[in-house]
Symmetry: C2
Subunit: 201 residues, 2 copies
């Protein structure tokens, strides 16, 4: 195919998406062109609009087209708690539980030195800025709950953030580790059982 | 999220892609907006260009931005053979073998009554048009090889096309069914072995 082939260009562009290889990219482009050209135009228009309009929430760093995202703008939430998560998807999962009523800080990623993702990329400065007034005794955040994922990179991220916050005199907690609801011990991995024994209460 | 949220709009649009649900659509949009905004704009631009410029090849019905696709425009190929396949991906697989040197007709789908895909959608009229001159003895196609997939729908499609072509006096063959290269009988499914016994030579 020639480099100016618009079909191949579209396939190459879609193949940049995470989890999409050249084969699924072709399937997507053929599907759009054969059966759903309006959707192709809709994808194009909405992506352009999103690139143009979506930025970071001033306070919690999540992606939003507003100055303050809907949760940060909601003054009825509990301002004494801040929960730190990796992604908006993690935030959505926590919101669905209905148990947590505080605010969030969304890292939009995790520390990953070998991918070149450092403290700057996860908005560390913005996070620490939220705690500037604590030295003057005016900060309303009494507890920071670190809810990064329990993966190697999530744990490192949690550790780095916890160190930085503790140095500022902030109370830091971490989500409990243990046996998932509804599971049978026989089928739970050993590391999880070990954590559940150590953290028993 | 409000209906005018550009982030959610982009996620909804990408979730129309085959094989992409709301979760992977969010992952894609977050990835693009956080780490690769140029790719988001590239996807938008190439999809718009493809919708505008890509149509069907006049002769073989495949998707192309040209009047005649590259294979149909290649006059060095064997004009006595026509191979009918479902998709450009199938065509690419056949081309890679290097065994077939004739032309193709790409159905861009298969008959599927319950999805409402009838003869019109697979370009049946265009296909039969290629055989108009046969009645006047001028047609150069001596053999039609039907290479639709060996699925229920592919078989039905093959049957319908074969009937229509045989009624026009065209010689029709089908790809051989049998044991795949490199496989051990023990692990081959019974239907394939049965076909291989019946079609032994």
């Amino acid at each position: 195919m020639s480099p100016i082939d618009p079909l191949q260009n579209a396939i190459d562009a879609l193949a940049c998406l995470p989890g999409v290889g050249p084969k699924s990219a072709s399937r997507m482009v053929y599907h759009l062109l054969l059966q759903d050209r309006p959707s192709a135009l809709k994808i194009a228009a909405t992506l352009q609009a999103a690139v143009q309009e979506v930025g970071h929430c001033k306070k919690c760093h999540t992606l939003t087209h507003l100055d303050l995202c809907e949760i940060c703008a909601d003054s009825t939430r509990d301002e004494s708690r801040l929960c730190i998560i990796e992604t908006p998807a993690d935030q959505a999962a926590l919101e669905k539980t209905g148990v947590y009523k505080g605010y969030y800080f969304v890292l939009m990623g995790k520390l990953s030195p070998h991918e070149g993702i450092g403290p700057h990329d996860i908005g560390m400065a913005n996070l620490l800025n939220l705690f500037q007034p604590i030295e003057s005794g005016q900060n309303s955040i009494k507890e920071v709950i670190i809810a990064t994922n329990f993966t190697a990179e999530g744990e490192v991220t949690a550790h780095v953030i916890a160190q930085a916050l503790k140095a500022r005199g902030v109370a830091v907690t971490r989500l409990a580790r243990g046996i998932p609801a509804g599971s049978e011990l026989e089928y739970v991995d050993l590391s999880t059982i070990a954590h559940a024994i150590v953290d028993r209460k």
